[in-house]
């Protein structure tokens, strides 16, 4: 028996971005906690491991992309079809990578201020990124499930990373218990899938389910339990309860990461399952998903109106964004899938940007999480205020910012597939959302500053903010190259 038959050069080529991440994370853990546990060297360690780790992983991803486009094939598969590297997986992996990169940059000063600066935090980011890689690229139930759990475990720990703070502990506990519960549902759905097809490969499951009547009760049970698990991960109503608490309690950098990367990965996962094995069950799940999407937009938007804590407000807004993304799945045509991809991309930039501003406000003794803490920001730090305005306009979906493009694609796919009523509901919530985003704007531009000192922040944070701001505007004003990229996420 030849070992290399289980790990071919091709297999290696496909998974090497994830392997690199795991290796760098392990090295960082070992060095920081065991070999050189001196805080003095922590900065160097982080610089020497996190960014190169992400960088090498990105380089390998780029090579994969080149190889894929050179071969002209739709996908590269590895490990007997457990992992499929296609345009879709690549597109989402780039989003994860950019989010991890930005979050690592902005975390540096924030964790220092919180007094919980440890190497393992960055190791967790790398591990989570590794899990997300498998979520986007996996086409095997076991691979997907392990990817999901790897990502989720890292997030459970990161949410509770502020050990000294009750809010953070409580958030982690809630997230862990509810998350474990939902994983159970998902595993149950997966077991039924396996039962029906006798295989863990999505491709074979798809064929097996297609052969069955979509209204078969077992198929329904399988679909429902899988959906519950997935909807929990994207924090769709009625499985959204954990999100506001987890978002509020977690360190703000983790909140940003959770709301962008975890959501993007879960959406990639959701699309894989619902556009793959469950595609033929569409008549059963489509009405259900419409209900979920409308409820998600409703609860997310209406609950956000009354929030006074920015993180909580952004948590509810992120719930409502999940509702919009679900609409792309409901439309289900290529425009809709592309719409989800575009939406996830622009959402990453604008939401990371908005959270980066909140992070910039955090200083010793000042939490800076209340809407009123942003009061008069325009007077003391106009740059931050204007950037925040751009991010909020984008979140609300006002042109010419990137957010408009995301919403635009969703509306486009809904009209194209004839979901007119749904499109009207979705557009009307744009106005509702604008109302609460502009509560923040109002406070920044009209309110009086309660605290005069201007915002100070690290170079890295400023860089991250500028990058997010520029991307939010560039994608909005000249979207063509980004739309081409999203186009590549569709099968040719």
């Amino acid at each position: 028996m030849n070992v290399s038959q289980f790990y071919t050069a091709n297999d290696h080529f496909v998974v090497v971005p994830a392997i690199l991440l795991a290796l760098f994370a392990c090295a960082l853990l070992l060095l920081d906690t065991w070999l050189i546990p001196n805080p003095k060297y922590r900065k160097i360690l982080i610089l020497a491991f996190v960014f190169p780790g992400l960088g090498f992983s990105g380089f390998q991803l780029w090579r994969l992309q080149m190889a894929l486009s050179a071969s002209g094939a739709n996908e590269l598969t590895a490990f007997n079809g457990s992992i499929t590297m296609d345009g879709f997986a690549l597109f989402f992996n780039w989003i994860f990578l950019i989010s991890s990169f930005i979050v690592s940059i902005v975390s540096y000063k924030y964790m220092e201020v919180e007094g919980e600066h440890h190497g393992e935090y960055y190791a967790l980011i790398l591990f989570a990124q590794c899990g997300m890689f498998f979520l986007a690229a996996g086409t095997d139930l076991v691979t997907l499930f392990i990817g999901l759990e790897l990502m989720a475990l890292c997030f459970y720990i990161m949410v509770g990373f502020l050990r000294g703070e009750r809010r953070s502990n409580e958030a982690a506990m809630k997230y862990l218990i509810l998350g474990a519960f939902s994983s159970g549902f998902l595993a149950y759905g997966f077991s039924l899938m396996y039962g029906m097809s006798g295989s863990t490969k999505l491709r074979e499951i798809t064929t097996a389910i297609a052969a069955r009547d979509p209204w078969d009760p077992v198929v329904f049970l399988m679909m429902a339990t899988t959906a519950v698990g997935l909807l929990f991960k994207i924090s769709a109503v009625p499985f959204h309860m954990w999100a506001p608490d987890a978002y509020e309690g977690a360190p703000t950098t983790v909140t940003a990461y959770l709301s962008v990367a975890s959501k993007a990965a879960s959406f990639a996962f959701l699309m894989r399952i619902f556009m793959g094995p469950l595609a033929t069950v569409r008549p059963v799940w489509e009405p259900m998903m419409i209900g979920v999407a409308v409820a998600t937009m409703t609860i997310g938007n209406l609950a956000a109106i009354t929030q006074s804590n920015i993180k909580r407000l952004l948590a509810y807004s992120s719930i409502s964004h999940a509702g919009y993304m679900l609409l792309g799945l409901i439309a289900g045509n290529p425009t809709g899938v592309k719409g989800v991809a575009v939406y996830v991309m622009v959402y990453a930039f604008m939401n990371l940007g908005a959270f980066a501003v909140v992070i910039a406000l955090r200083r010793k003794g000042i939490i800076g999480e209340d809407v009123d803490d942003l009061s008069g920001l325009m007077h003391k730090s106009p740059g931050y205020a204007i950037l925040m305005l751009v991010f909020l306009l984008s979140l609300a979906g006002i042109p010419p910012t990137a957010g408009f493009l995301g919403k635009y694609y969703i509306f486009l796919s809904l009209i194209e597939t004839g979901h007119y009523a749904l499109a009207v509901v979705a557009t009307l919530y744009v106005a509702v959302a604008l109302y609460y985003y502009f509560r923040i704007v109002r406070s920044m531009f009209v309110g009086e500053a309660t605290e005069k000192a201007p915002v100070t922040s690290s170079v890295g944070l400023r860089f991250a903010l500028a990058a997010a701001g520029i991307m939010t505007l560039v994608v909005g004003i000249y979207p063509e190259p980004f739309l081409q990229m999203a186009q590549s996420s569709l099968p040719k």
Binding site: I398, P399, I415, Y420, A431, L434, Y435, V446, L483
Partner: protein, 518 residues
């Protein structure tokens, strides 16, 4: 510059804004000077538009066309015809005068204030110049943000409420309009097999009535809120009362015209069957007449000077929409001229309120009386504005209202009977306002020593008055410019109209089959 005249006009304010942002915030005079000079330059670059405009050309002129988002079929395409020419000129003139009028009125956050005005100017010009529906939509939404800040930051006591109300109202309308736009976009793909937002392409569509109707209603909500037509007008008095003077001027003079322009540029030509549909015409005409009468009657009851003028806008814009849905050359041409007129006269009236508000910091009508004794120049200017707004012959208002009524008479005589009542009420509330504030003895001691208009203020009013007299005495150039585009709209909505028939819009049976003669 020759081929890109329109782009230069469109982006000159934006470029000026970029320069403005480089001036340090403490150099207040420099900021004011630059904003004034820049907006004057923006006006100057728009003058070649008039001299080079060919009134006999049948289609859009000075068109610029480039791919913007090819994967969506979106183009950067701009051009002018007679209708947009007038509105573009109105925008550049009024923007300059509004900025000039703010010299003393705005004291804090100068840089942001003028930056917002210049951004707003680019947005408004973009709305009037776009020949691509997507581009139009982007500019349409772009206008909301600076206006929100102008009301919300530099406005009166209830500015935040007014600003967000303005934003939410218009946003709700425009996102629904977006759905209608997408409906047209896919309909075009179904018929011609390629995606485009270009107006000229969309014009070739031939849609069934039912489709046109639902698209018409989505457009209607977007445009009617902007105009604003009764019953969507409630944001307007709030926005006007709370906005700073220059904000009110721009809002009344230019922003509201975006709605009527939308009807003319998009609803009528793109959806001709729906636009001539008996029920729709009747609903639109009735809403316009209700707006005319309601606005006028509410104006009669106001104690607040600015609120009075705000409600008078509802009434005057009712005339504009009535003219549009008369669906004949007189009605539509009159409507466009009335839009310009309203820009001039109401702009002036808001400036007049701004002048007195700067001196007394109150807008209660009962606080004033007999101002003509202490401020004679002011009283004369006000008289011009008031008479122009009331539609006195030889001033601009008369030309517009008369032509609209002529068109409406041709369409339906009962409409005219009601609309004429609106003219009478209009004269009543304006004359009564003039009487209560300007005439008689000075009743309030605080008014005894008010300074009259300064040179700068005179300079702000002079162009408005000159323009009002010009249109009043010699409106021919305006009608000439409008003749071709208006004829195109009418021909599109009622093919064969010029062949000698004069059917009324309600008389469906007399109409020839629609859509054939293009």
């Amino acid at each position: 510059m020759d081929q890109h005249l329109l782009s230069v006009i469109l982006f000159a304010p934006l470029a000026s804004m970029a320069v403005l942002l480089l001036i340090p915030g403490s150099a207040k005079t420099a900021i004011k000077l630059w904003a004034n000079i820049a907006s004057f330059i923006c006006f100057l670059v728009s003058i070649p538009l008039v001299t080079r405009f060919d009134k006999n050309a049948m289609s859009y002129q000075m068109v610029e066309r480039a791919d913007w988002i090819p994967s969506l079929g979106v183009k950067y395409m701009i051009g002018v015809d007679g209708i947009s020419l007038l509105l573009v000129m109105l925008t550049t003139v009024v923007s300059f005068l509004a900025i000039l009028s703010s010299w003393n009125a705005i004291e804090d956050k100068l840089k942001e204030y003028y930056a917002m005005f210049l951004l707003l100017e680019t947005g408004m010009l973009g709305v009037f110049l776009s020949l691509d529906f997507f581009l139009f939509y982007v500019f349409w939404e772009l206008v909301l943000v600076p206006m929100y800040f102008i009301i919300g930051v530099w406005g009166g006591p209830r500015k935040l409420y007014a600003a967000i109300k303005f934003f939410l109202y218009t946003l709700t309308g425009s996102v629904l309009m977006l759905l209608g736009i997408l409906g047209l976009y896919f309909a075009h793909f179904d018929q011609f097999g390629f995606y485009t937002f270009e107006i000229a392409d969309l014009l070739r569509l031939d849609l069934p009535l039912a489709t046109q109707q639902w698209i018409f209603w989505t457009f209607f909500i977007g445009f009617a809120i902007k105009v604003p037509m009764f019953p969507f007008h409630t944001w307007l008095p709030d926005a006007h009362v709370e906005a700073p003077t220059a904000g009110s001027v721009i809002l009344a003079s230019v922003l509201l015209k975006m709605g009527t322009y939308g009807f003319l540029r998009f609803s009528l030509p793109l959806l001709p069957k729906a636009s001539i549909d008996g029920t729709i015409v009747q609903i639109l005409a009735v809403l316009s007449i209700v707006g005319i009468l309601y606005g006028a009657l509410v104006s009669l009851m106001q104690h607040d000077w600015k609120k009075l003028i705000a409600y008078s806008s509802v009434s005057h814009l009712g005339f504009c929409t009535l003219g549009i849905f008369a669906l004949n050359p007189n009605g539509i041409a009159g409507s466009v001229i009335q839009q310009v007129n309203h820009g001039i006269s109401t702009g002036m009236l808001f400036l007049i309120i701004g002048v007195i508000y700067e001196r007394r910091h109150t807008r209660e009508i009962s606080e004033y009386g007999g101002l003509a004794h202490v401020m004679p120049k002011y009283a004369i200017v006000f008289a011009f504005a008031m008479l122009s707004s009331a539609g006195l012959p030889l001033l601009n208002g008369f030309v517009g209202e008369f032509t609209i009524l002529q068109g409406a008479f041709e369409a339906n005589r009962i409409w005219v009977a009601f609309a004429v009542a609106g003219v009478i009420f209009g004269a009543a509330y304006l004359l009564w306002l003039y009487q209560r504030t300007m005439l008689g003895q000075i009743t309030n001691g605080k008014n005894l020593n008010l300074p009259d208009l300064s040179m700068r203020e005179m300079f702000v009013f002079a162009p408005f008055i000159a323009w009002a007299i010009w249109i009043g005495i010699y409106p021919k150039p305006y009608f000439d410019v409008l003749e071709k585009p208006v004829a195109q709209i009418v021909e599109r909505v009622r093919p064969g109209y010029y062949a000698g028939r004069t059917p009324t819009p309600l008389d469906q049976n007399m109409l020839p089959p629609v859509g054939g003669a293009q």
